[in-house]
Amino acid sequence: MADTLTPPLTPSLRPRRDSVHGHEKPSAVATALLLLGALYCLLPVFWVVMASTKDGSELFSTFTFAPSTHLFDNIAELSAYRDGLFWRWMANTALYAGAGAIASTFVSALSGYVLAKFAFPGKGAVFNILLMGVLVPGVILAIPQYFLMAQLGLTNTYWAVFLPQIISPYGIYLARIYAAAAVPTDVVEAARTDGASEMGIFARIAMPMMLPGLVTIFLFQFVAIWNNFMLPYIMLGDDTLFPITVGLNGLLNQGASAPALYTLVVTGALLSILPLILMFLLLQRFWRVDLAAGAVKA
């Protein structure tokens, strides 16, 4: 009961015992270990910020963490590379991840809701197959999916990257947990007696109740698609369709023979992680990752 009364946007990861902090003697060792971990995680990010301010010769000659003044030159050069191909890659990534995550969240919500709230023959089997799907995720399917897409003549199109990533067994699994917890069965039944259609009940009653959980599914799927490398790497040959991961990988490959491209790769790496890092900082409170809720005993 308490759960449904809490405002859905309560930051769940904020340290709950903040008020008691300070009563206890602080431990220098514990704090130092945490800061060491933070340093390790920030080091490469700090490096890329510094490295992207250097020009081609400075990258290999000046001290790693010494900044230079060429950041805007590098960005301009990157933007000019093959008529702004880099920004095309960024736009493609945003499209794949944005549209893909929205479609995936909707399908997950619908399937999870049905699995949680309806009784039908074969439901147990559907759910078990789904759990197996969680254990064999996307990457292993990428090559078989390529063969299939090739049969359909869809390789080397936006669809080849967009369609396979809509289905997310893990998203459906999470949605089923959220639907079971957040949508009371009597509310669904009351709406049904009032003559609402099943789709209407789902869209107008169940979806809003599941919303905070759906944001989490959206974020998961968004990051998964944004980070995916193998699927687009396999499916696409035309570099104007590439997402950023495949594009930068190709640029790095060319850099092996033309080191001048390395500054572009480094600057591109910096620009490509900024949006996601920003999104992380802004949406932190939605990262409630309770993988074990019911999973192990299911």
């Binding site: 602080p26 920030l42 890329v48 290999f60 559907v126 254990l135 399917l141 490398f229 930068l248 309770d290």
Partner: protein, 289 residues
Amino acid sequence: MLAPGIVLFAVFMAAPILYTLYLSFQRVEVSGLGLGSGARKQVFAGLDNYAAALGDPEFGASVGRVLTYGAILIPCMLGLALLFALLLDSRRSRATTFSRVAIFLPYAVPAVISSLLWGFLYLPSVSPFYYLTERLGIEMPQILSSQLIMFGIANIALWGGVGFNMIVIYTSLKAVPNDIYEAARLDGASETQIALRIKIPIVTPSLIMTALFSIVATLQVFAEPTTLRPLTNTLSTSWTPLMKVYRDAFTRDDIYSAAASSIVIAAATLLISFVFLRVVQKRAFGQED
């Protein structure tokens, strides 16, 4: 209403698996010079492709590498994730918000980009580590050499994964009511004892799930070594099983043996996951069943 889910599942998960299964039992027979239509035809090959895949020393070597890689990576990653989660939850730690965000941040960086960043940090001409050790007069071994590349790649995966696993474990620690700790403290338990005797048992289910997801991810490692290849000549095109499948299917156009290898990898992943769950579930939840 389940239709969209089932259709998508059938088309993009079930159908590819079945199609691969079909291909894995086929081979191409070439008659004559192999020219003209009808000269190449697909025939049933039985288990030949599987025998070839399993007998291929390259495949065995790539599996061996992935297992070594997993044995290095998974204990380090989960150990550190657990340590950081416990430290974040400890009342005696400071700077917890900053550390939590900083350690989680690499999760936002795609594996290709993190491999690229670390790849440059491993290059002696760019790396601060080599710069510093040179000043100090210590000779630092080449991370991009064939002996150490395994650790280099494991480090990239560790960097990208430790924060996510930390958050998973930390979330389950947060769900524990404070009273339990208060009671333990009244009984004279130290913070360390509370961590070992109460907190770790409570997060065991989360640890099992993170371990499972890490195992599945490890068996499929592809992006990191593929991205590092231009920077070093120690990574072969069949360094991991999936890289070999990719090469067979796209560079060598041998989709039949690639299909057989895919099936072997998928089956092994499922088998390892199930065995793992069986074993730890018996241990962890033995009393409840």
